[in-house]
């Protein structure tokens, strides 16, 4: 038992994953719009548009980067983003 556990634990990696979630481009983003307007009012005239999204950092303890990538994609699709209104991007280090 001890040895097996020991070997298994040797094979785990600390993996960092990042997930970016934004409203789909066709959907009006009330937060982004308000920020863009406020920035223009504040004198930042070069700002054309702002979109606000969410950003997640996940610390994983994975068998491999591939395993992690697959799992994070699933988590992003099922949980972190709502595919009805949002799109997402996953990065695994």
């Amino acid at each position: 038992m001890w040895t097996i556990f020991f070997i298994a634990s040797l094979e785990r990696y600390d993996v960092k994953a990042k997930v970016y979630v934004t409203l789909k481009p066709s959907i009006l983003d009330p937060q982004g719009k308000t920020i863009a307007q406020a920035l223009q009012t504040m004198g930042y005239q070069t700002v054309q548009d702002v979109r606000q999204g969410k950003y997640f950092e996940l610390d994983l303890d994975s068998g491999s980067a591939d395993e992690a990538r697959q799992m994070v994609a699933e988590v992003a699709d099922r949980v972190l983003a709502n595919p009805v209104i949002e799109s997402y991007r996953v990065e695994v280090e």
Binding site: L23, S26, P30, Q31, T34, V79, L80, N82, V84, I85
Partner: protein
């Protein structure tokens, strides 16, 4: 007639729904903890308002994975009545039991106030005692109630007459100034294609007694009782 009121961690209108259904309207109601999978033999299910899981991530996003939701989905699939109020509506959207999603309110603020809702359709289990065009005065209390569905889904909603409530002026006129949170097509509530699952952002359970300001919410809770038992049917 028995209701099941689902309690998620962070639900906070569960007691209000219970009070309205039992003390005010005289029905039976049980709380069902989100880890349960048995709906206590209820005839109708209510997903109450609140901040399930703190509304962290997105409103309703975590709650929809609770064990009870599989039972709620089965219950809905069997054509039985499910009502989602505010956060409960958001859970139904996240669970895919109703189409669409929610964005932050147009003015980005949480809004708590009375609004006017126009009843668009009465052939659902939760509006059958109302009149088409009837205007209900019911409070809202939410920060993410700005309804959105993609154009094709919107077209289906309208074609199937699934838009049940819209935000309007007090006289029932559609007017963007009265579309309190900026929802697409001023949508305040919708139903599924089978018309047994209804979700709405306003809180009918807060509008069941004169002493707290309105009784207009009763018709929604009473309709389902009429639908199932015939009690209180319109002449």
């Amino acid at each position: 007639m028995k209701f099941a009121i689902v309690v998620f961690p962070g639900s906070n209108c569960d007691h209000d729904a219970h009070y309205a259904l039992t003390e005010v309207l005289g029905y039976e109601a049980d709380f069902v903890w989100h880890k349960e999978t048995d709906l206590h033999g209820a005839d109708a299910v209510v997903l109450p308002g609140g901040f399930s899981y703190g509304d962290y991530l997105r409103s309703g996003a975590i709650a929809r994975f609770s064990p009870v939701m599989a039972s709620v989905a089965d219950f809905a699939a069997a054509g039985q009545p499910v009502l989602g109020v505010c956060n409960g509506f958001q859970v139904l959207l996240e669970a895919g039991l109703l189409p669409g999603g929610m964005r932050r309110n147009r003015d980005l603020k949480f809004i708590c106030q009375y609004v006017h809702l126009r009843v668009e359709q009465t052939d659902t289990l939760f509006t059958r005692n109302a009149r088409v065009g009837q205007v209900l005065r019911i409070p809202i209390a939410h920060g993410e109630g700005n309804y959105y569905a993609p154009p094709d889904a919107m077209a289906r909603l309208e074609a199937n007459r699934q838009v049940i409530f819209r935000y309007t002026a007090p006289d029932g006129a559609l007017d963007d100034a009265w579309n309190i949170n900026g929802s697409t097509a001023a949508i305040a509530g919708i139903c599924n294609e089978a018309r047994n699952v209804v979700g709405l952002m306003p809180h009918p359970e807060r509008a069941c007694e004169r002493v707290v300001g309105s009784t207009d919410g009763r018709v929604i809770l009473e309709s389902v009782v009429t639908a199932l038992t015939g009690e209180g049917a319109l002449a």
